[in-house]
């Protein structure tokens, strides 16, 4: 399906290992010393501008869309203003060989990096965090009871308003910032006005820096064209040069230029910060007018030419990385970048928004089969059957792409964030599956934090003491003898949970102002509506809507455990609560029979059994309604999301045995899914249970991975089945579903012979990963998930 160019490019992509390079850090270090003393927004913009003026410009063979955030192919930058030299120095040697998400690094670059670390010692946000966070929060964090977002990373989940960026060009944004500065100055001097003037000045410098970088790409392309002997490549290089001279300074004049524009914005995000989850929003909507423009002039009339450009763009999306530490790389395994590209859905007036580009975006994904961008297909009652069919066909072929999203559920979620009906219809994903009021109006900051739900039960069953350490870390919610019903235990679990969610809130509310003062993100602030008009960065609350995500791990383990306690202790009286807890404390040692009872007798979440599904729903709804009342430090609100990514593995590793029969340290359930292997009633029951957890009450949605055995969905009938499952899930209130179709034999073979399966994709958690790039534990987790046999 791929043409020769793309075939070569894809081969090159798979043949190159991600690598950490020194250049960006070298330039940043120089710039930091040059511009010290400037106000933060100006300082940061000047640093970026300096980097973009001096970094190596790369144009790789065959490319039609150019620009890279680093000086090597598949390179990764280090951002020592965010990341502590401490762990990085310790882990630097391990990067090429670590099991999860390895990076190569040349000896020369390593030497340079180590030398540069001397300058950065103690300067990172991560170094400041322990002194910013109160001791009890830092303690809970270090014990892995909670995570606190933005502690060593950036407030980086951004879906720009690309309609605005494209229609004004960066020069239009520069002009607007100049106007605003003039207006503000005309009001006379005041301490409240200078920060805004500094912010707009920073925006101008940043925008000019990006334009300059584009010009340098043009210069490089011209230089290469002059030396190019192949006439057709020479012509391509000259087109690239012409495009980069025009965009992103000016509104694009063609589809090709529009793609180049969007890509250069994406590059600048990755030059500025160690960002992830910079989404493309409703790509088919804002890009289609440029395709129409071309087609009216008789250009790009052949779909193959459009696909070639799209595929070149998609491959660029695979080139960006965020270097994560061991914990984060295990918790977010598979180099995920969450660059979500959405198609379909309703328009701002409620009609169907599908256009010819919607189909081509899916076709390009089907042809290329790479992990980025992650395709998202919005589904509503009026979705053309052909579009849904195309998505179903991709799923049937095992691509695990696109993910399907329900307009109905997502709209209710974003309305909970307080937006207009038009903005609700124009919702887009900010992050992974989190819906946000439309069109780039929302800064949905990344994870404020995760609470380990089964650990909350463990604390409740030990009156606040962590049995693994003997330390009192939670609330003293009562001795076992005080619990007379499962409701009592649920109440204690909720109290423990809220205690830790409050810690996350308090910690995150302390961390974000540090970013606002020191590291305002200029590109994101220009890209999101509200910041330029208010003269404030996203971290200062400049976005029209600000939300911060609160997450949970293991809700299914919690529900199953509570049900098991109810059945075995309170109903059957097989064990007393004290006996059960004693058995858990010895990790079922010599008690396999009881473990089997706990596994086999009590009902389990995921089998369409109302009572146990209700326990999960009750907990999640309570947590959502509680945390969504919290104010964030920017004047925004917290949003709840039933999503674990792969934090369910790391949280599992620090939690003892649970009453659902799970042994100590084993992983928890994946995202919104049932516990692995405990959904034994087939995929329809699983879908019903996950649909029954009151998702629309979670403002940031719920991530659901469903896996089919390929046998269950083969042939024409299989496509109808896939569509039927998606529609029924959405009828039942589901927001998001992604469907893997992989058989275990393939996966086991892929573990043994990774080279034979390097294109094998598995969506682990809202992102897609190459199965063979995951470490053994994560691979085993995927293999263990119940395969739903027909």
């Amino acid at each position: 399906m791929l043409n020769e160019r793309l075939h070569r490019m894809k081969t090159r992509y798979f043949d190159t290992r991600p690598n950490i390079t020194a250049e960006h850090l070298e330039l940043a270090t120089e710039a930091y010393q040059l511009y010290a003393g400037e106000a933060a927004p100006i300082f940061r913009a000047k640093v970026m501008s300096y980097i973009m003026e001096h970094m190596t410009v790369c144009i790789f063979p065959d490319e039609l869309i150019v620009g890279s955030p680093t000086n090597t192919y598949k390179g990764a930058n280090l951002f020592m203003e965010y990341t502590s030299t401490g762990w990085l120095r310790d882990e630097l040697d391990e990067f090429p060989t670590r099991t999860t998400d390895p990076y190569d690094i040349t000896p020369e670059d390593k030497e340079k990096i180590l030398k540069l670390f001397e300058y950065w010692e103690g300067k990172a946000v991560e170094d400041l965090a322990p002194s910013i966070l109160p001791p009890e929060i830092e303690d809970a964090r270090q014990k892995d009871l909670i995570s606190v977002g933005c502690r060593n990373g950036v407030s980086g989940e951004t879906t720009p308003n690309y309609s605005r960026l494209l229609s004004l060009g960066l020069s239009g944004h520069i002009a607007r910032c100049r106007e605003l500065i003039e207006e503000e100055r005309a009001k006379g001097g005041h301490v409240s006005r200078q920060p805004k003037i500094d912010f707009w000045t920073g925006c101008i410098i940043m925008a000019e820096g990006i334009i300059r970088y584009a010009e340098r790409c043009a210069e490089k392309a011209e230089e290469m064209a002059a030396a190019e002997s192949d006439a057709s490549r020479k012509a391509e290089l000259l087109v690239i040069a012409e495009n980069c001279r025009h965009v992103p300074a000016n509104p694009p004049r063609s589809f090709h230029e529009a793609l180049q524009f969007v890509w250069l914005i994406q590059v600048s995000f990755h030059i500025e910060a160690p960002t992830t989850a910079c989404g493309f929003g409703r790509f088919d909507q804002y890009m289609y007018p440029y395709l129409q423009l071309d087609r009216e002039r008789g250009l790009l009339t052949d779909d193959a030419d459009v696909l070639e450009l799209l595929e070149c763009f998609y491959l660029k999306c695979c080139e960006v990385y965020e270097v994560r530490d061991k914990w984060y790389s295990k918790s977010f395994a598979g180099y995920p970048m969450w660059e979500i590209l959405m198609v379909g859905g309703v328009d701002r007036h409620g009609g169907d928004a599908t256009n010819p580009l919607s189909y081509l975006c899916l076709d390009a994904g089907a042809a290329l089969q790479t992990t980025q961008p992650v395709l998202a297909l919005r589904v509503h009652d009026g979705t053309p059957p052909e579009l849904l069919r195309k998505g179903a066909e991709m799923v049937q072929k095992g691509m695990a792409n696109p993910g399907f999203f329900s307009d109905k559920a997502a709209m209710r979620m974003v309305q909970g964030k307080g937006c207009t009906i038009e903005e609700a219809r124009d919702w887009c994903i900010v992050g992974c599956i989190q819906p946000a009021p439309g069109g780039g109006t929302t800064d949905g900051s990344p994870d404020a934090g995760y609470v380990n739900a089964p650990k909350m039960l463990e604390l409740a069953l030990h009156n606040g003491i962590d049995p693994l350490t003997g330390e009192l870390v939670g609330l003293q919610t009562g001795e076992l003898s005080e619990f007379t019903s499962v409701e009592d235990i649920m109440d204690a679990v909720k109290k423990q949970s809220v205690h830790f969610y409050e810690m996350i809130r308090d910690g995150y509310n302390l961390i974000v102002p540090i970013h606002a003062e020191r590291l305002p993100v200029m590109m994101a602030s220009m890209a999101i509506d509200g910041c330029i008009e208010s003269g404030k960065s996203v971290q200062q609350g400049g976005a029209k809507y600000s939300t911060a995500g609160m997450f949970v791990t293991g809700p299914a383990n919690l529900g199953d455990s509570l049900e098991a306690i109810d059945q075995v202790v309170f109903k059957d009286g097989t064990l007393t609560l004290e006996e059960l807890v004693a058995i858990l404390d010895k990790n079922f040692e010599g008690e396999e029979r009881i473990r089997q009872l706990l596994i086999n007798k009590p009902a389990k979440f995921g089998n369409d059994i109302p009572k146990v599904d209700g326990l999960v729903r009750d907990y999640l709804t309570y947590i959502a309604e509680t945390v969504q009342e919290y104010d964030d430090s920017r004047g925004g609100k917290y949003s709840f999301c039933n999503l674990s990514q792969t934090v369910n593995i790391s949280h599992g590793e620090m939690t003892g045995a649970t009453p659902d029969g799970r042994k100590a340290y084993e992983p928890f359930s994946d995202n919104s899914s049932p516990v692995m292997g405990r959904d034994i009633s087939g995929p329809t029951a699983t879908v019903k249970s996950v649909g029954a957890i009151n998702q629309t009450a979670f403002h940031d949605g719920a991530l659901f991975n469903l896996r089919f055995d390929p046998r269950g969905i083969q042939g024409e009938k299989g496509l109808e089945i896939v569509e039927g499952v998606i529609k029924t899930y959405f009828d039942n209130g589901g927001e998001h579903i992604q469907i893997n179709v992989v058989d275990n034999e393939t996966l086991i073979d892929a573990q043994k012979n990774p080279e034979k399966h390097r294109g094998l994709m598995v969506r682990v958690a809202g992102y897609m990963a190459y199965f063979t790039e995951l470490d053994k534990a994560a691979q085993d987790t995927i293999i263990d998930r119940t395969a739903h046999l027909a």
Partner: protein, 308 residues
């Protein structure tokens, strides 16, 4: 006086059943079958009485079942439980003692209402895919009154029913059930056209089965619902003359759809679980399958193959 609701022993309620009728279905397997097909892939569903099933790989060797057994029918051998079937009177007391689920009852008694409540949970899936409930077994026709009740309840809820039957049973009841508007599909087995060979393989001759089928096929509305299913066992019923005879029968009765079910060995281990030994057969070769398909297609019959 309240009437005690009728129950039937149900081996399993299989959701997301996609190969037993159109769309996504819930298949209900009733225990008990008048046939004794040597190749049966649900051997635990044949006997009408209660049966103990042993899943050795689930056994953790705790031995609690041994104490629970009043007949001394259980013993640990190399850390795994074994059942002395000659001593076992199927009291099933051991099942409650087995927390690991290694010892289980093959079926549970259910009322039609209970089954319908469970099956109706997937109504949304049926609606989107043209699916519904499939009644299978064992032989569902061995419980005509219960099946009629199921069909009535399903019809009330707007859920279509597919019958999966050997056809060996009460022909009047079958006709009555088949003509009910709630029955949308009928999967009807033809195992072999030759009565003697049929008797040899299944324990009953095929006259009743074919008579019942002729009667159904004579009714235009019912005929439209019928898909013939042909289990194919190498050397037993896959020979050309037998297939040609089947084709002729189908043409004669204007039956237009057939599904070929080549033999598979998934039933073999199930026999072991109920203390029996299954004969192992072979499926027809691919070339035989292809020629069977050709013979039927040339007779104007739409053919589908559902292999392993």
């Amino acid at each position: 006086m309240t009437q005690i609701p009728m129950t039937a022993p149900v081996g399993s309620i299989q959701k997301f059943s996609v190969e037993d009728g159109p769309g996504i279905r819930t298949t209900i397997f009733f225990k008990g079958c008048p046939l004794r097909c040597a190749w049966c892939h649900n051997p635990e569903m044949i006997d009408f009485g209660p049966q103990l099933i042993l899943l050795t790989n689930r056994c953790i060797g705790c031995g609690y079942c041994i104490e629970a057994c009043p007949n001394g029918a259980l013993a640990l051998v190399d850390g795994k439980i074994e059942v002395d079937r000659s001593a076992c009177d199927t009291c099933l007391l051991c099942v409650d003692a087995c927390y690991a689920g290694a010892l289980a009852s093959v079926a549970e008694e259910k009322t039609a209402e209970e089954l319908m409540n469970e099956a109706a949970k997937d109504s949304g899936f049926y609606g989107h895919t043209g699916g519904g409930i499939t009644l299978s077994g064992g032989e569902m026709l061995s419980r005509p009154a219960f099946v009629e009740e199921m069909v009535r309840l399903a019809y009330e809820r707007g859920i279509g029913v597919c019958l999966d039957t050997s056809g060996h049973g009460d022909g009047d009841a079958l006709f009555r059930i088949a003509s009910h508007p709630g029955v949308t599909d009928i999967l009807y087995d033809i195992k072999c056209m030759n009565p003697e060979v049929h008797a040899e393989g299944t324990g009953v001759d095929n006259r009743l089965i074919l008579d019942n089928l002729r009667r159904l096929a004579a009714d235009e509305a019912i005929r439209q619902k019928i898909t013939i299913r042909m289990p194919l066992i190498k050397g037993y019923n896959d020979t050309e003359p037998l297939i040609e005879e089947t084709a002729a029968f189908l043409i004669q009765n204007e039956l237009q759809r057939a599904t070929l079910l080549p033999y598979h060995t998934l039933g073999v281990s199930k026999s072991e679980r109920i203390g029996e030994r299954a004969r192992v057969f072979e499926p027809p070769s691919q070339s035989t399958l292809d020629s069977i398909r050709t013979v039927l297609e040339q007779a104007g019959i739409e053919v589908d193959i559902l292999g392993l």
